[in-house]
Amino acid sequence: MERKLSDLTDEQLIKEFQDHNTIEAYNLLVKRFKDPLMNFVFRFVGDKDVCTDIVQDTMIKFYINKDSYKSFAKFSTWIYTIAANLAKNELKRRKRRVIYSLNNDDEDMTIQIEDKKFLAPDRYADAEIKNKIIQNALLKVKPVYREVVILRDIQGLSYEEIAEITDLSIGTVKSRINRGRSQLQKLLKHIYKE
């Protein structure tokens, strides 16, 4: 039964879950999308603990409102839309309160070196620092540009999928991606010099 279910597409699995309330189908979909959603939300919001809550809420909403999904749309588009809306709500909530994060101090960075990494420690440390700088720069980009840049350049979605998730035209999506990249390019000038 599991193997048969694992061979199904996302749309077939959601239909199975809708029609027969098959919890295994639901679990499979959770496994398939939890990490991509986590990556997307983390790059958009920046806080790992909050991201876990957002992705959990996304799956719960998916479970409660499974019948609101219509089969003419892609399932990935639908679940990304739920996650994006919850992430935007979190950003709006943050605007009203100031959060002082203990982990947000660039001067006090802890660098973990994994043994399985066949990189010299100094080179690995550089990579970690570089990733953090890129992430911080990404968080400085306007949210409307940041969203589409992450979906396109990190998640690898097509323009049509991004247009469906964000409810924008393809032209607007391309324009915003271009502007987001331009802002990032200005913020990350010093990295190119290295």
Partner: protein, 236 residues
């Protein structure tokens, strides 16, 4: 001219895409699915990330609601003040009962003369009849005696004594050159007291009292001129 240039070269765009694509993938914690299934089994569907849309709506309309509320309060306060003002205006004048009483018996109430010895309304009315013919006392100010609804007699100085029976139709008086119509009719120029009966209309110029000495001098001159004239005629 001050516009931001969002066009970046393909090379720069490729660099950004490469940088972003090389970022490490973030994954969920190990107990993510366990916690999720636990929530579903317990039917704990309280979302931690609830949208605060309702509050925004309240906050968004709070200034407009406050303005509308203050306008309503000001309107009601102003309307209350207006009603107070109207009742205050009423108090400035005597009540209708007093006014009609004054108008109905103008002679009785208006022409009586204030007297220090008058103690009752009846005695004042009696004195009124005795002093109608007196020109001296008529020059004094007049008072109105009113009977208030609570049976209290109030004597007040008449602020605007106006006797319609002693008024005159100015248009007719001017058109009638002799002034006979005004003299024969009941109408008189506005005045008070018995002197008003003998008052002839001589235009709207205000009569001023002349100094006695000036009058005597003028009379003396006129007499001397008259005498000189007579002497001249005799000589001729």
């Amino acid at each position: 001219m001050g516009q931001k240039d969002y066009n970046i070269s393909n090379e720069e765009s490729g660099n950004i895409t490469e940088l972003l694509g090389n970022l490490p993938k973030v994954s969920t914690p190990d107990n993510f699915e366990y916690k999720l299934m636990l929530k579903i089994q317990n039917e704990d569907f309280n979302l931690k990330t609830e949208p605060a849309v309702k509050k925004n709506i309240v906050l968004r309309w709070a200034p407009a609601a406050a303005l509308a509320f203050s306008a309503v309060v000001v309107f009601f306060i102003y309307s209350d003040q207006q009603s107070d003002l109207n009742t205050g205006i009423d108090y400035l004048f005597e009540n209708t009962a007093k006014v009609t009483e004054t108008q109905k018996a103008p002679i009785q109430l208006k022409e009586h003369v204030a007297s220090e010895n008058s103690k009752s309304l009846n005695s004042e009315i009696d004195k009124k009849s005795a002093t109608v013919a007196s020109n001296e006392t008529a020059a004094k100010s007049s008072y109105t005696v009113t009977l208030q609804p609570n049976d209290v007699v109030v004597k007040k100085k008449a602020a605007f004594p106006f006797d319609q029976s002693q008024s005159v139709d100015v248009d007719n008086a001017l058109l009638d050159g002799t002034g006979q119509a005004a003299r024969n009719s009941q109408m008189r120029l506005v005045g008070h007291g018995p002197a008003a009966e003998y008052f002839d209309f001589r235009g709207f110029a205000l009569p001023t009292e002349q100094d006695r000495e000036v009058l005597e001098n003028m009379k003396a001159r006129m007499d001397s001129i008259w005498k000189a004239k007579i002497e001249n005629s005799k000589q001729k």
